[in-house]
Structure formats: structure tokens, C-alpha cells
Symmetry: D4
Subunit: 255 residues, 8 copies
């Protein structure tokens, strides 16, 4: 699972030339950097298609800054999800270039040169309360290079709002469908398209919605083919997976 | 809760004239007949709009015949649900006029003069596996005098099948929507009509459908207004309730 | 599902005469108004019998005001449920005519001329803690034109309190029964009347009540016929559905 | 926890006189008899008020006979619950005096001289399907010396059937209430009497009854005071406990 | 269910003599007093052996004072459970004679002449965290006239602490056993005594205790006979039921 | 959602030329064929990328033959899942060309000319008991034109078996990972590749596996990115979705 | 994770000498043998302390024989759990030396020279119905070289049966405690000893035992320290783990 | 279960010499000290290998100080878990020698002379959020005399981080594996070692992790042998049990 010889040779030359310091070359060879309380997986991008993403919630702001420092030394793009106000403040003080989206609770640094986004991901949300999860998916997918078109508040109780988007939906390579309550939207969408549908249940709903379990079960039991399911409120996971699928549509795909 | 004076006076005269025997007049006065192991609620029709219905499953065929004998002596219409082959055979031997529907597992005797059915109940089933439950609902509602129009196999994965029924659905006074798996159909129907929608989850589905729980939760959390929910596979309950609602649309309603 | 030709012709003439502006006529034609983060379903009243209702909880007060502005431009009656103090303050500052009920957490604007309420909905609550849910049902049903009679604190542990209401209960076209804890009240009521019973479990209770699950299961498994169930604490849904059923009793019903 | 000195002295004299053999006196001293695969608790009667009862289900008929042999050598009364046809046949071949009740699935030997039963236990069952559980409770309580009065099929959907028993219910020292489906009967009974109510949920019901969970939760959350709950279908436990409580009402109670 | 003729005759004479005012005599005849938002069950003592008890949690302090005023006008003893600091302050300002126990969260007024307590209830708690529930049971039972002996912190992990109480436990007429975590204590106690054991699971425990579900299931499945179960944290219910059972041991019991 | 004009024009010409009969042209126009008890979705292939697949379990063999007749008249490829021996016998008698795989319980007719399969799907199964589900996935994907490479019995308890497949896994466009018990395999695989991972929990396992719930929850909570989840035992769904994703890698993709 | 150089060198010499054939030496080098549908983990013994154990349930008898052939060619000891009559017959026909225990459903071949068993495992079962699980644990542990002392039917409802074993329990290096119903026994045992307690919940019990969940939760929440939990009915796992722990007590332990 | 004669004789002599006061000698004889609201189990160390540990959460700081006073009078080592800031402050004011670890929420006094730690416990944590639970385990085990080596942030999504620790893991006598989310780490570790693996699920994770249930189920169903499970977040229990097992490896073990 470790980097192959060409990669290593390249890193060793950068170390020789002073481009990497000792700690950095060690992390490259091991595939991770040991901070004591954490082992940062610097090899994640090579193996899984995107650098390790930080789940900020529950972390001390100072620890988050420390992790950002370690990650930015190995990668041009760092993303943290579920970032609160204190996280944002601490990171932006140290990295003024860090960007933030309050609704999606996302915080990121992107020092890569701008490139044109590729393909098309269709992103649907059933209701306005599902937007934080949908936006987390959007930002993740866009950082991974995908073009995303958003269709919000198209729940099945007003079917005409969805059917008006029919032609656009069929143009996407992959669709993300975010819904709470009974989670019926992915089933309806799955019956309209021949592309993969990634369903994301949200904890939106009251009474017997049980924090997203109703939507989760609904999506797992979808009567439409072509639907698979992410965990409750896992917008990041959906955006990441959709971007991987979206890349498959590129004609220069090496596999 | 007991019969009022006029009713009682009428029964007493029928007893005096020999139309009722002693056991029958006693049951009328008490409101139930004590068979030792059961207390048949002969007053149910007056109170709740339909005679007591027998749940056959788990009952000895001989006991069922015994109960049919007691009920037919007080009522012109007797219905048993979940009747198996042995039940049907035993009851039809004693009551050759008893009718039976195998798919709905319903068994009944109806000696009332034919009357024109009233109103309109729209009855939808998402898939073909949901038909036993839907047919139990249909027979119950028809025995209670309702006209029923059936729309089967109109699940949301092929939305055009449902939308083709749009005009007919809007003509019904009340709708019964039967569905298993993710149970999304009632939400879609609820968004199309301004009449009550009675949702019936079925135990159809596999894997994470959990014997109907997924559909039940989906229906309870419907994002469409106007939807209420029956228990899993409870076709009888849906048919009974729909018939009560359907009667409200009659212009000569006394209340 | 879109408005029929007569409706459209009528709207177009109102546009021509300046009664509707361009955004409004567009929303009429599409059946919804696109606010970017939301697609307001202005066609809901025509399809489902009442305008779209706003679930305020979790919405920013400013967003709620924005939604009220959009909805009041298309409808004379707007209702928000689960409105907190901040919602009320923000909306009433912009719309001084907005009314509010603290116990029911309901907030609404009603500019329609007063009309006599129709029919009769019987509304029962088992205990005093169930009142917020019951009152949400009452306000919803009254805004939809129904007459409502309330019978509060009639739980089954003191049966004489319920039986004293017997004659009044039988006069209602439809009954809403709100109960927490073991949720036994709908079963008892269902055995006393021949009208639909809409059961609403509440999250009231402690220990093994599990936030309303005990009451929900109790109601789904009611041994009485004629009972269907709403989601936990869903007073709005019960009021809305009861009002639809109550309308069926009007002699001039078109269907 | 072992027998006190007087008891032991008495046993030792019976051993001396040949009334007990060596194995029997050992079991008395230890408080149990070791059969290798089982340790029969011969001291149970002294400690808990009734000899150890055998749960037959899942046991080999030959093992059951073996256990009956060991128990009858120490006790004049032996009871097995959940006994199937094979159990009955095997035990009755060895002990022709063994008695059996098919509906209650109970099998017992009682060689004690007849005594008048004491006190009064009121035993209610909501529906006819609850009778096997109720009858298991009745036989257990009667073997423990209690008088039992049965009130079957008095479920809350036909309240007049229950209220007709009102005076008799108030005469009991303790009540057992057996019910499936929503399990509402104990709450109603608990509101009518000032005696302990032992609620037994049954696995009767379909769909969302979940094998008795709905009834169990309903009973645990009863809004009436004075109700406690046994496990699902545990008629034996209810009969045993009711008999212990019933004994407290005897004027010669020693405590 | 209403008061019998003698009782009524007596009340009417008290009304005639001015001992009762009009509202009071009405409540006696109806069996409850209608406060609008509540129907106080003044007949509860006659029917169920103790006046209606108030669940304070979630009630406005002013409402609680109002209820205390209504109840004290019909009864010499009033009890509220789950009373917080604000409840206590409000009630004690209006009723300086009201007493309060902080750990048990109980608040009560008792104007009855002192009487000797009767019988004996053994009250066990497995751990120190179970004391609030145990103390709620103790106060309830004592207000209902029972003598209570407490055995706290006798959980099964240190069995010698329990076995030291063996002789005292066997002297009680009925035992209450309060336990959280795995709830094993009632099984052990049930195997030591021939008196009823009322098991109360508490929400004490962490991780997989699931707020008392583990203890609840443990108690329901007790391998010892003579055990029945109350709801999670329901100390009041246990105290009430134990006091009813304890009364059965009085030689002058009328039944 | 209905076929576009070109498609329709083409069908009409085939009708004119006698290539389609009246029932067939009607089904093309409506998008489904109404068999009374079922509405076959002949438009599914155009919309969703593969013809409607039949779930055989629970269907009468004769009904299945009837459905095969209707489907083969519109499509060259028909697939039924969960087919038992009786289904196979009935269908093969009518269609001798039908093929069958016993372990996967799949039954199909494929009259299309042979084409080279495309891309690469990596299919992993954790244990030998997971093979029926894995094989259902394989057959589905192959019928949809995909090349599949199988890696069976590579569960995480013997990690070297999995790591030996490392290079092959990274060559696939998409991976299906089938596992029961704790369902850990998708997490490990997800950390090794940069392609989509479709996780399928199976009902394999005993004790606390709860029919696949443990594996399902494990997969939903995977700590590795790029994983989405199908329903328990849903091999068909995984094969279908993987084939849709696999097609995206074709350079001539039109979108 | 692969075998170290010394081990390999040794295997290669055995191959050279003809002691191993080509397939065997390959399996040694790879650490597993690929049967197509299975990859037998021949390296398991070296890594985990015992050869791979076969779960027979659900396997074809012929497949089981095939697996036994492969395993016996690499190991002197092969064990299958959950073996039914057909498995036993097929394996014993091919391997007459195979031994079988019907109650434990275990089937094994042991060609190792007899050695004295080491240490001491105390094995307790609460009731006679728990014996199949306990015996599976016993046979597993004994095959792994441990001495086991059995204490069956020592449930907490008759505590004297357990306390009589006190001195013997304290002599064991590790204890296995098997119990169903409420699963209280491990807590009591855990409070008596200073050695590890491995708790095994069984699916024994009825009503609310929920197939072992009650016992599982009880054991997880044990108030006694030193207790850890296996899956429901997992006697094999307990025996395996206990044997590993028991080995730690040997003075010649290398670690 | 009480201390043996030698122990008692020794204590009595210390009492005679004034080394113990009257309350202390009483506690030694009884095996516990009765504080009224608690019965401190001073015999726990002798029976279970470590003195009683205090669960601080929910206790009043003053009560905790009181308990520390009582425990330190009988033991040189006292440990409290889940201690908050107020607990720490109160205890350290009275016992300045008390030590505290904020992340592990542990608070302890250790007056024993320093001894070399024995054996080796391998302690793994899957992610950084699992550290509080892991550290609670570490401190507990170290106070019980064990040497502990920590391997943090070695979750299965980056397998190379774990495999790098392979040689060290195999040197431990027993392993503790702490993980949240899907809890896959113990299965992977269990397949790599021949020593006991104690799995501790944590409540870390979001969405469908359900507060640790997903990890708990995953660990219970581990496909690797040699794994047993502690309750969610129960670091203390794992540390305690691991230390007991670790002691078994000492050559001077007496058993």
C-alpha cells in the first residue's frame, strides 16, 4: 500500500534539494505523520483521490490549527467539515487565506491554480431544512473538481417542482439526493434517470422521524434501482463519492 | 352507551311477538352475548357503524362456525378476515351461502338486499405484492356500501403510471394507499389531492424493510398534509375507516 | 397537475389588468415561486385544500418574514407552526396584523372575510400536558373553516370524565384524540362512535414512554375500528386532515 | 439462606426414622439436588412460597419425566408450564395421576388433600386470543390456593362489557389483566379499583404489535396508578405473584 | 363508577349545612371538577385508594398553586412529584404548611391527624445514584400509611451487603427493589423471599444502559418468580402499589 | 417522462409495418402495459438503463411465466431474481432458452447478440456464506455489459488474503464489497482505492448480528470515504448500480 | 504478517524432503489456500493461536467434507461448530476418526498426541437450557489444551447453589459465565472473584427476552468490574478466548 | 465470601494495638462500611483485585470528598472516574496529593510505594476522538500495576498506520482496542494476534452511529476470534479487566 518506487525516488530528490525537510520526507516514506495524538494520513490523496479531511466538531481550535499546519505542509488543499465559529476564527487568524461557508459549516484552504470544473453532478434537496447537508456536499465536490448544479426544495409533496427539472437531471453524470422526513425523493428520482443516485438522509423531521432513521430506512428500501445510501447528514461523504464517480466520465481516464 | 329507549321498546315488542328468543333479547339489553370464552358485541353496529368483524387467524374452525352462528342470529352481514382454507371449508359446510376471496383471505355472509353503492373510494397499491392487503380493504369497504375504484401497481419508480390516474384520483372522496418497501406512494398522492389519504404500510420488502417498519415510518413522516396511517398490513382497518369517511359525503347525513 | 385552462385564463386577465405583477403570474403558471433557497408551492391550495404551511422551527426569523411576504402576496391566509418568540416578534413587526397563540406555538395572518364555521370536529386530549398539541390542531382546523369542540383532560384513568361527554362526541363528524403515555384513549373513543377517529400520540410521559413511541404503537394497534394515526406531536397534521374530512359532510360537496 | 435449625432437626429425625433416604436428606441440607445437568432447588417452597416450577418447552420428554421423579420425591405438588403433547404423554405414562390443560399448556401433579381456596383474584382477558395466557395464570394461582373469578373478552373497544363487571372487580384482592394489541385494558381497570393490578402483555396482534412490545410499552406507561407489569405472555408469573399477594389478605398472616 | 347513594346523601347534607359550597357539591356529584384546562378527579381516592397525585414537571408554578387550591378544598392530603425549586417556592408561599424533600423532588401537604403506620415495606436500592427514585417511593408509601424500612447500596457486585439484610427482608409484606445498570438485584431478592417484589428500573448507567432499557429488560425477564415491573424511574408508582399491597395484610380488611 | 417524438415516430412506423401489434404500440405510447394486477414498465430501459427486473419470490410460477411473456415481447433481455425451483421449472418449460444460476437464484433470458463486456467491476465477498448475494450482483452486472473480477473469502480476520489482491483492486472502475457479521471489509477497502465502493451488508451471522443490521450499521458508519450502502442482501441493486457507474468510464459517453 | 524466515526455511525443507506437496508449500508461503469459493487461512494457528474453525451451519455437507480434507492436510486438529446430523454423517463417512457431541453440535478431528491439559477455566451456566452454548465453549477450550471445571444450573434465583461453588470458582484462572433471560449471573460472579469473567448471553427466555438482547444488555452493563461480553450464543468464541487467557498463566510464557 | 480467619486475626491485632479504630475494625469484619446513603465495599480489593472505584459523575462534590475520606482510611489507592472540574477542585482542596487527568476525567490518590509495572498491555485507539476513553483505560491499568504501550489514531481507513505497529502488538499480553464509528479495528487486530483482544466501542460518530450502537454491534459480531466487548465508552472497565489478565502472565501466579 505504500508509495511505489518512482514516487519515492521523486520525494527523495526533493529532500536532497531541500524542498522537503526531514520530518516531511519521513512522513512521505511512512505514508503518515505522527503528531503523538494523531497520525496524519499524508498518503490518503494518492490512495483515495483526495487528501485526508478533518472532522472539526469536538476538536480544540488550537488542535485544529496544528492539524492545518501539518496538512498544508504536504498538500495544497485542506478541508475541515463541521467547523464552528471558534474553529473558523482560530484557523483564519493563522491562515488568513482560509475560506468559510457558514451554512455548510465548511472551512478550507485551496492554494491550487484554478482549473475548469469537469462533468456534472446534479444535487437535489427535498426541503429548505436540508440545505446545510446539501451545501456540505456541494463544497466537497467542487473542491474535488466537479461541476455541480443545485435543485433545492423539490420534495415530492409538490411534484411539479421536481418534474420541471427533468431535462436537467438527465444531463448529470451522477445525482446526490438529500432528504429528511420520509426520504421519498431518491425513489422518485431513481425512476427518472439512468445514472447513479446517491441518497443522503437528513435528521430533519419531527415526531416519529427519529433523527433521520425514517429517511434512512426509506432510502435503503427504495423501490427504484440505481440508488445507494450514505449515513444520516453525511453531506461530505456524498460529495466525495459523487466526485469520484464524476471523474469516471472523463475520456482520459487511465484505468 | 347502551341502546336508547326507542330501540329497546322496539326489541321488546319483537321478543313479545316471538321474533326474538330469550337469549337474543338478553343480548340486545346487555349489548353483548356471553359465549363463555367470548362476549360478542352485538351493539357494535349501532355504536360504530358496522357489526363486529371476526379475526379468523388462530381460531379453531369449529369455534369460527360457532361465532358465525351467534353473529348471524343478530346481523344480516358477517365478515371474517385472515380466513384460511380450513376456516372456509368449515363455515361453508354450515353456511353454503358464505362467500370467499382467496387472495384477500376474506370470508363473509351477506343476506342484505342489494343496494347501490355510494360515493367513491380511490384504492391504490404500489406493487403487485401489496394486493392481498389492498383487496382486504376493498371487500371491507364494499360490504360497508362504498363504491371503490382500484389502481394497482402504480409505485413511484414509474411515476407515469401514477400520473395517468390523476383525474380519477381527484374524483374520490377518500383514498387508500397501500405500499411496502419505502412506502413513498402516500406522500406523492397526498401532494396531488385535497381529500383524506389513508396510508397502509405492508410487510412487503426484504433486507432492511424490517417487516413493514420502513414503510410505516415513511408514511408517519410524510411531507404531504392530509395523510394518516394504519397498522402494517391492516387492510381491513383502512377499508372500514374509508367507508366511514365516504359516508360523510352523503347529502342526507343526519349529524 | 398544473392549473387548468380556465384558471390560467383568469390569472392572465388579472395580470393584464395589473392585478398581478410579472413574478406573480409566473408563479401561477409554474405552480411555484422560486426564492433560490426555496420553491414556494403557491398551487398547494388548489391541489390540497389549504395553502402551504410554514414549519418555523429552525428557520431564521428574517427568512420567515421573507417567506410570509412571498406567501401573503398569493394568499389571504398564511400559517406558521412551531413559532418561537423571535419568530413572532420579527413577523409581527413586519405584519402587525399577524396573530399568535403561545401554547400552540402558532403564528398566522388571516385577511379573509369572516365566515361561519362548518360541521363539527370533536377534539379530545387525555391530559393537561397534551394541550399544546391539541391546540395546534384546533387552530389549524378553525383556519380551515371547521367548528371545533374541545374536551380536555379526559384520560382513561378516570373514565367517568370521558363518559360524561358521550352524547357530544357522537355529534361530531370526525374526532381528533390526542394522548401521551400509553395512548389508550383513541381505542376507548373508537369503541363509542361511528365516525373517523384521528389519533395523535404525544411525546408526553417519562421513563419507558420513549418520547411518544409507546403511545404511537398503542394507537397503531388499537383494537377499535375506525382509528388512524398521525406522527408524534403532529397536531397540525391532525387538524388539517380533520378539516378535510369535516368538509365532506357539507351537502353542496361537488364530487 | 439455608433452612433454620428447627427445620433441619425435623428432617434429620425423618431420615433417622427412614422417612427420607440419604439422597433426600442431603438435598434438604444443601437446599438443592444435583442431577448433573440440573440442580433442583428443593428449598424454593420454603424460601419463595411455592416449589420450583418446570418450564417444559425445549426439554426432552424423558428429561421432564426425570425431573418430575426428583421433584415428586420432595414435594406433593409439581407444575410444568408450556408442556406439549409429547411431554404430556411421557409424564402421564409414568404418572397416571398427572393432570393436563391443553389451552393453558399446563401439566401438573397435585397429591395434597383438597383445601378450600382463599381470597379472590379477579382475572380479566381483553380478547379471546389472550385466553391461553390467562388460563396459565388461573391454574397457577389455583394450585397456590387462590379463588379466581374469570372475566374474558372484556376489551376496551366494547366498554359496556367491562363496566358490567364493575361490582365484581371491586371485590377482588388483586387483579390480573391480560391483553394484547395496544394493551389498554389495565389502564382502564387501574382507574376503577383500589387493589393491585398485574398487567400481562400478550404477543397477540399483527402488524405493528411487534410480538407484544406495543402492549408491553402501553402497560409500562399506564396513566393509572397501582399497575405493574409482567413479561410478554408470562401467565405463570402473574398467577404466582397474584397468589402471593392474595395470601396477604388472610387474617392469620404471620408477618 | 359514581359514588353510591349513601355517600351522596351524606354530601348533600353537608351542602345543606353549608359545609360544602355549590362548586364542591357539584364536583362530588360529577366525580370531577372542571377547571377548563383540567378535570380534577376528586373521586380518585374513593375508587383507587389515594387522591389524584400531581406530576409537577412541565407545569407552570402558578398552575400548580391553582391545582393545589382545588385539591386541598376536597382532600386533606395532596402530593406533587417531580417538583422543582420554582414549584416549591410558589406552593410554599401560598401554603406555608407544604413540606418538601429535595432529593425525592416531592412536595406535599398533609393535614390529617397523625396515625401509626401499618405493616412493613422493604425498600432496596442497588446504588447511591438510585436514591432519588427510591426516596420518591418511600415518601409516597409513607403518605399512604405504610411503614418502610430502607436498605440502600446493596447491589449484587458486593453480595455480602445484601445477605446481611436477609432476616429483615423476609419480615416485609412487600418489597420494592430499585436498580439501574443491569438491574440484577430484583432477581436475587426474588429468590430469597416469598413476598411480592416490585422492581423499578432507573435510568442510571452509561454507555449501553440506554437510559434504563437494559435494567427494564433485565427485570422483565427475571428468572425469579414473584417479580413485577414498574416503568423506568417510576418511584411514585412503586410506592403507591406497594402501599396498596401492604394494606391487604391488615386483619380488618373488608373485602 | 414519456418517450420523445423520434422514438414514438419510430414505434408507429413499426406498428404500421406490422412489426408491433396493437397492444404493443399502446404500451409503447403509455410507457407501461396494464395486465390488470400489474402495470409492466416497458419504458424502464429507456429511463433507467435496464429493463424492469422481476422479483420472483412470492409470485405464483404461472404469474411469472405470464410476466416473462409480456416482457419478452418488448425486450430481448429479461431477468428474474430470487427464483425458486418451481419458478425455474415453469419458466424453462415455456422458454427452453431461459438460463438459471442456483446459488444466485437468478433466472434470465438473453436474446441479444454477444458483445464484449466493458470496463471492470471488482467484486469482493468477506466469507463463503456471502456468495449467493455476491453472485446475484455478478450476474446482474454482467447482463448489463460489465466485466467483473471476483475476489471471494477475503474477510478482514485474515488480512493477507485481501492485501494479496491489492493491485487488482486498484484496476477496477468501481468495487462491490459484500460482507455480513460486523461488515468491516468496505472500510478497509475504501481506504485502499480511489474508486467508488458499494457496500452490501448480508444477513449472514448469528447472535447479535440481527439479520444484517450490525453489518448495515457498520457500513453506514464507515470511517473510509467513498463508501455508500445498499440494503441487506441486495446483490441485484449493487450489480445494477455498479454497472451504471462502470458505463461512465466509456470514452464515448454521450452526456 | 506472513510467516518469518525460520518458519519458511523449515517448510521449504519439508517440501524438499517430500513431506509437503506443491499445493501445500504454496499455501504455507501465501498463508492461505485458494479453493475458489473459499480461501482457507492456514496461517491462522501461527497468528491467532488455533487453526481456522469452520462454522458448519448453512454449508453443504459435501462442501464441509471438502474443507475438512483441505484443513487436515495442514493441521492435526480441525473443529466445526453448529454441525447438524447431515454434516456429521458426511464427515464421519470420510473421516471415521471424527468425533461429535450432539448437544454442543460440535464435530472435530484431533490427531495430536494426548497432552495434559493446563490451568483451569471455570465454566458456569445459569440454567439447563444454556447447556448447548456452555458445552460448545467447553469442547473448544479443551481442544485448545485447557482444563475446564463445569458448574451448571447455578442461576441467581437460588443463590445457595452458586455460593456452594465459591471456593472452586476462586481457583480458576478465568471464568466463562453463560446465561439467558436477564443475564444477571456474570454480575454476581464478577463481584466474587479477581479473575477475568467472560459473559455469554444466550437466546434462552421468552416474552421480552428478545432472543438474547435482554441478557446481552444486562451483561454489558454489569455493575461488577472484570466482565466482558461475547455475542449471543457464542460459546465457541468464549471457549477460544478463555483458552488464550488461560495460557497466559503458564510460567514458561515467552512474551 | 467474608475474609478468612487469618485475615481477621490480623485485623483484630491491629485493632488491639490501636492501628485501627472501632469503625474500621467493624468495616473489616462486615466487609463494608455503612455511610447511611452508601455501603462502601472495603472488601472489594481482596475479592476482586482492586479497591472499589468511584463513578463521580452526578455525585455532589462534597459527597465525593466524604467518600474519598472513607476510602483512604482503608486503602492506599483511591480512583474516581468521570470527575468534572468541581469534583477535582473539592477533592484537591481536602487532599492536595490527589492527581488529575483532564482528558481522561480521572482523579486519584496513590500513596503506595512506587513499584515497577509488569507485563505489557497494548492499547489502540482508532481515531483522535477516541482518546478520552483510551486514556481512562490507560490510567486504570497503570494504577493496577500494568505497563501500557499506546498506539493512537490507527484506524482501518489507513491500514499502513496499523501494520507498522505489527511487531509491537504481538509483544503485548493483552490488547485493548478502542474505536467508534463502525468499530472495525478489533476485527482486524484480532486477526493479527494470539492474545486476548478487549474491544471498547465509543460514542464517537455521527448520523447512523447511534451513540456507539453501530460500533458495539460491529465488535460483538467480529469475524475474528479472541475478541470480547465492553460497554460503550467504558474505558475503566477495559483497563481493569486488561490489568487482571495481564497479571496472569506473572510467573509467580499463585493459582
Amino acid at each position: 500500500m505504500k508509495p511505489n518506487n518512482e514516487d519515492l525516488r521523486d520525494q527523495l530528490r526533493r529532500f536532497q534539494s531541500g524542498d522537503l525537510d526531514e520530518e516531511q520526507i519521513l512522513a512521505k516514506i511512512q505514508g503518515y505523520q505522527d503528531l503523538g495524538f494523531a497520525k496524519l494520513d499524508h498518503d490518503r490523496h494518492r490512495r483515495c483521490g483526495f487528501p485526508e479531511v478533518v472532522y472539526a466538531q469536538g476538536k480544540e481550535p488550537a488542535d485544529l490549527v496544528h492539524i492545518f499546519e501539518a496538512l498544508t505542509s504536504h498538500s495544497d488543499c485542506v478541508l475541515a467539515t463541521r467547523a464552528g465559529a471558534a474553529h473558523v476564527e482560530a484557523v483564519q487568524e493563522r491562515f488568513p487565506e482560509a475560506r468559510h461557508d457558514a451554512r455548510a459549516r465548511a472551512l478550507w484552504i485551496d492554494k491550487r491554480p484554478a482549473e475548469e470544473s469537469i462533468g456534472l453532478i446534479g444535487l437535489l434537496a427535498a426541503g429548505t431544512s436540508d440545505l446545510p447537508v446539501a451545501e456540505e456536499a456541494r463544497i466537497t465536490a467542487e473542491l474535488m473538481g466537479a461541476k455541480v448544479s443545485c435543485h433545492y426544495d423539490v420534495g415530492v409533496a409538490g411534484l411539479h417542482r421536481l418534474l420541471d427539472q427533468y431535462d436537467q437531471l438527465r444531463r448529470a453524470r451522477v445525482l446526490i439526493v438529500v432528504a429528511g422526513m420520509e426520504g421519498a425523493l431518491p425513489s422518485v428520482v431513481g425512476g427518472l434517470v439512468d445514472r447513479p443516485v446517491l441518497a443522503v438522509p437528513t435528521s430533519v423531521g419531527y415526531g416519529a422521524a427519529f433523527g433521520g432513521i425514517a429517511a434512512l430506512l426509506g432510502m435503503l428500501n427504495s423501490c427504484a434501482p440505481g440508488v445507494s445510501v450514505l449515513s444520516i447528514d453525511n453531506g461530505f461523504g456524498a460529495g466525495h463519492l459523487a466526485a469520484l464517480i464524476n471523474r469516471l466520465g472523463e475520456s482520459d481516464l487511465e484505468s
